[in-house]
Symmetry: C3
Subunit: 363 residues, 3 copies
């Protein structure tokens, strides 16, 4: 689908210059752009590659002398990174799936589908499921018994939504995302070695080896509006009440959210993050890639963690954290520096010991 | 399905008090409970929320004065956490799937299904597969050629069991769990840089860049009785012999178990744990979330690791470990404290160096 | 399928000795071998178990006195580990799937399938997809709109290939692997707390809480020849250009490759590795299990990382790295030693302080 440069600028609330009637088919990096692409040259260093491509139009930085870059048309936006959102939405070719209920899909008669819901090939929608208007249930996706999904959702191929899960509006889930697996919750007849070791921080005592008995997960998962889930991530159901994810929270690939966890609004959980059971996470929290969080703790609003952070205890609101164990980022950076000089420190102390034991020699 | 308070207590081997004929439909946390729920108030702090809900009956702690809590009936159990197992089993509403072989399922004529086996929509059961009586093959699940699954198993939506995998009784697998992918095993024509770096602990030498050739996985996976697998976890097949998982072992979401690994009985692998190839893990081991374990090592019985532990070498039986690298938990806790004071240590040593180089100044 | 000892040796370029006409059905470890297995006894310590099994033939180490081991036939290879590749290829029983297009598969009329392509039960191939000759699309696998897969590929059950993804020859993907989920890319109307914290290394300033708006992923994923993907791994599409994986690169289970990432040729990414967006990785790189790599950085050719390494900044070519943060392996090993002696260091410094503050006492 083609747009003119002017149409694009108007849609984005940006300004268009030059041959604003030029038609644009897609977006491209400057070196890859054809004559019908809008090149993305939002920084001077990106514009350097414009001559390697064939772009006639580009999105450029505020104040750029676009004519001297050899362009015939340009769009300028005050915050180009934010403009990328609207621009990529306009230009997204999507997955190319057909509308309607595919003849191979299995939709139970007792499911309720809103207007314009589409269900892809080999998808399964169980009894009592309620799917809001305009939502796309992708190929091979699964929606369990009595599950609810709001309007305008988009479930990619192979997404699995378990029984009784409740999801708000505009939900997006990438391939293989699982919502509503059972929690990992087991108990032993007598006090277990883990319970003992936690209390003593290391000593198992003489607790016997015992078999684990399963605690079933009777709760479901409640997910707010505008939530997105990454490929092959997993969100477990709660034990008695629901696991809860607030509005606007985005969860990346291969993230695990354990049973009973509560996550607030507008938080980001980056790739490979793991949150153990019953932990609470506030609003506007950003957990960097591979961050791990212990069970039954609390992370306050606006906390940020760097990549690989291991969180073993509560974090008050507003902190920026890094490391294993998680400490303030500046403290951890200081420790990282110290570790690199640790050998020298050992040598210094060895020298000092010699010097002090023979004080005369140091004169 | 409703039970009386007395029926529940009897089933759990617990004691019922008060209006024991009261009917109960479900379980709830105290604040969320309706008049037909059994509230879970097994600790005094939980009971504080009873007035916010409408519970007339509750499970309470040993010695609780349940009448003063405003309840009409109560169940008391000597070990309430363990009682949760029986209670949640009774009250689990399950996935709501129909019995029998769904007409859209693809079950090969040469597969053998025991009495009462059910196969969900879009599920695939290959030739030679043998499924024990009462086992549920969920929607979109897959059972490969000549695979065996014991009786009373439960495979959630999208579980994948590869060819020739052997699984015992009462197996439970959450959505997207994969058993029997190929191992990650490659070899170079000449000694590789990795082989060289391992021998020298850091020096690749002048090993050339080479392409990797695949070693096929001819082994399968053997899984004992009462094993459970979490959502999207992966258990690889062995190279020649089978990868093996003992009885009663529970594996959480997004855990990876590499080729040739052997895991004993009654062990727990928490979320996001990774076990590299050919490592052996004993009985009653508990690996905390995101624990990583190197290949070709040994972890003894009853070992416990804390979250994020990276295990690079053998661990003798009975140890409680934490950290990167894994050390005794108490040692790592001591190191964590030391790291927080590392800057001060550098300063102290700097002061000492000054003092010692000018001994007169310290007087 | 049976082979004679001689046929096997010839196929592998190895030498056969003794009763070379003996027929072999499979491979086995020495203790498990039947009289029709070729036992794998490539090291003297493995040969010790030969008497526990029933092997008449074995692959043995160069220089082995095979007759004294009780064998009737033997194969000797100069580099036995490499020979394992050819040997396991010959003996692999495979997945046992039927040829052809299964009647339950959904293949769009506008898809192009090469000669001998097979498509398993419940698989979906979308419009415009092009599948090269001889490629196997496994049961419940998915190939999206306009996706391309080269010849002789093998997609196991439940593999998902998104729209417009391009994959080369001899591609192998294990169950549940996902290629072409959307990137994790969001932006806030004004500068976000993360942008601020990155610039200041820890200080969020007074950035307001904001909602995240999605940047769509218009790029696809380009994968070279001879690439293999592990179970439930995820490779995200690029934002504007494609995410790229070179020839011969192998990716293990539960690995995440973020949007815009570029990986060179013949690299290995072991289990649970995570690569954040826009990072570039060279040729012949080996990332150990659970290695995490930050976004927008560069890892040079021939770099090796040990298990659990967290890479927060660029790594020059040829380095062998370990630790959090990633440092040269020998440096990290030295630090690990130092940490174990850290308590003693604190004690030494405390003693020194006492000694120096009372110099007379140290005499």
């Amino acid at each position: 689908m083609a747009y003119t440069v002017e149409q694009i600028a108007t849609a984005l609330g940006a300004e268009a210059f030059g041959a604003v009637d030029m038609e644009i088919d897609g977006l491209a990096e400057p070196a890859d752009a054809t004559a019908r692409d809008l090149a993305l040259a939002m920084k001077p260093e990106y514009a350097d590659s414009l001559p390697s491509g064939a772009a006639k139009a580009a999105m450029v930085w505020d104040g750029a002398d676009w004519q001297s870059l050899g362009l015939e048309a340009a769009i300028i936006s005050p915050r180009p990174r934010y403009t990328m959102s609207g621009l990529t939405t306009m230009m997204d070719p999507g997955q190319g799936w057909a509308d309607g209920i595919h003849p191979t899909a299995s939709v139970d008669d007792r499911a309720e589908l809103g207007a314009g819901v589409s269900v892809g090939p080999m998808a399964v929608v169980c009894a009592g499921a309620r799917i809001g208007a305009g939502t796309v249930i992708g190929p091979q996706a699964f929606v369990g018994t009595d599950a609810q999904i709001g309007t305008m959702g988009f479930l990619r191929e192979g997404v699995r939504i378990g029984a009784r899960v409740k999801i708000g509006e505009r939900f997006i889930a990438q391939p293989g995302a699982v919502v509503g697996g059972d929690g990992f919750s087991y108990v032993t007849p007598e006090k277990s070695s883990v319970e003992q070791a936690r209390q003593t921080l290391g000593d198992q005592g003489d607790t016997r080896s015992q078999a684990w008995t399963r605690i079933h997960s009777l709760g479901a998962v409640s997910i707010g509006d505008d939530v997105e889930l990454g490929s092959n991530c997993t969100i477990d159901r709660g034990t008695i009440r629901d696991t809860r994810i607030g509005n606007g929270t985005k969860i990346d690939n291969l993230v695990m959210v354990g049973h009973n966890v509560e996550i607030g609004n507008d938080s980001l959980l980056c790739g490979c993050v793991g949150i153990a059971g019953s932990t609470r996470i506030g609003n506007n929290v950003v957990l960097g890639g591979q961050t791990g969080v212990s069970d039954n703790i609390f992370i306050g609003d606006n906390v940020i963690t760097g990549g690989g952070t291991i969180v073993l205890s509560n974090i008050p609101a507003g902190r920026v954290m890094l490391g294993y164990p998680a400490m303030k980022m500046e403290t951890t950076m200081e420790i990282f520096k110290g570790l690199r000089r640790l050998k020298r420190l050992f040598n210094d102390v060895a020298d000092l010991k010699k010097a002090v034991s023979k004080p005369d020699a140091s004169d």
